[in-house]
């Protein structure tokens, strides 16, 4: 049990699907207020790691603590004592999650997507929930679209609603799983701007991304993963300006080529 409270701490986290190992002894610590971007080639395990942090992809080895509280297992994955639904919900409570494909609920208006958990989980009245939801939508610049259904919104707008939905329940940290990868290029900027504003507000964020420019500008730390392991972890200036490993150097080169 770590005694200093990190926002997120993953120790020796391992994950395998059958015989295929996708995370190998990953150690990652995120402090409160930090913005950490995880980069790496496809299949490197970065999304799996992010999903493991929220126990959406249960790890088979090691342990993960969220603001001092273990998530998913009790006493590390090896003991195989799975948390109850209630324990898991409590461990997850400080975390918000934003998905690549938004996952707004299509049968509800934007504002109802944002308000649902406030009503069902946080005991807010319909009116209170709607007020908070409206404020959250305003924060991401979508108050005018609050009463539209997801199918009436662009991809960028949908992702902003998803961010508002995560924000509305006041999480202490938000995990972003490739939040701009499913967007048309001209819509990427509006989502990144919202994320940048959140970072400026001091929100703790872990972001799996292919947006190197964003990572270089907005992150306090960049983590480079390859083959299920963290290869380099440091400030963006070092990662992008002075890569130590050959693998990171190659990765940066190919992503730079793609950008041109």
């Amino acid at each position: 049990m770590p005694n200093i409270e990190h926002a997120i701490s993953a120790r020796k986290v391992t994950k395998a699907y059958g015989t295929k190992t996708v995370l190998r002894d990953v150690d990652l610590t995120v402090e409160e207020g930090e913005v950490v971007c995880i980069i790496g080639p496809s299949g490197s395990g970065k999304s799996t790691l992010l999903r493991a942090l929220a126990f959406l992809a249960p790890h088979n080895g090691g342990d993960i603590h969220i603001f001092g509280r273990e998530i998913g297992w009790n006493g590390g994955a090896e003991r195989k004592v799975k948390q109850t639904e209630k324990e898991l919900a409590e461990a997850r409570a400080p975390l918000g999650m934003v998905f690549q494909h938004f996952h707004l609920w299509p049968h509800m208006k934007a504002i109802d997507n944002v308000a649902l958990a406030l009503k069902l989980v946080h005991g807010k009245s319909a009116l209170e929930a709607e007020t908070i939801a409206f404020d959250a939508l305003k924060k991401v610049g979508l108050d005018e679209h609050a009463y539209k259904h997801p199918h009436q919104l662009s991809g960028g707008q949908k992702q902003r609603v998803a961010i508002a939905r995560a924000l509305a329940v006041s999480p202490k940290a938000i995990l972003f799983d490739e939040p701009t990868s499913a967007l048309d290029p001209e819509l990427v900027g509006e989502v990144l701007n919202v994320m940048r504003a959140l970072a400026d507000d001091g929100m703790t964020m872990v972001i799996v991304t292919h947006e190197m420019g964003f990572a270089a500008q907005a992150a306090n730390r960049v983590v480079f993963m390859d083959h299920g392991a963290i290869v380099e972890d440091g400030p963006p200036a070092d990662i992008f300006g002075n890569p130590k490993s050959e693998r990171l150097r190659q990765f940066l080169e190919t992503s730079r080529d793609r950008a041109i």
Partner: protein
Amino acid sequence: MSLTSADLGLLAQGLGLTAWMTLWGTLLALALAVPLALCLRSNRFWINAPARVYVEVMRGAPLVLLLFLLYYGGPQIGLRLSAPAAGIVGLGFFGAGAFAEILRAGLNAVPTGDVEAASMLGINRIKCIVHIEIPQAARTVIPPIFGQTIILVKESAVLSVITIAELTKAASGLATITFSVQPFIVAALLYWALVEAIAQVGLAVERHYQIGGH
């Protein structure tokens, strides 16, 4: 010879009985299908296995056998049902198997991420099923549910074997008296009208609940 107005009255009564029996049979089937579908999706063997057995039995057995068992076999185990009650229960039990599979497929079609998003927000399993999975699945299953209802309408013709004077029974009774196929032709037209009406209701419901975009 042509059918008298009294004959047509008999056929109309038969149609009414067919529609009435199918309506209650379908409602009973749907009511049973919701918990069945949820059981089919359970990860626990002792929950999903009985539901799976039920569905397989109902899919494997003809309705007419089920009706014989309920109506003629029932009294032997102390289950005395009137013919209409046996008919509705038979249609309901029979339809529940098919409806459960449709609902299961509909629930499976809800994207995993939609459920993950709910669970990340602390929404528990049951609330997620009620507020997110069922409303979404309901929309995808509307067309196949109405399709299956139409099949039940036509299956209900075998209720005649347990003495219910539904449309087919009425038509065959008249045919024996009149030595004519006319009653069958009229009955066929009446079935078609009923089926068409149900299909139109299905389309209207589908349109009403469409969430656009697709």
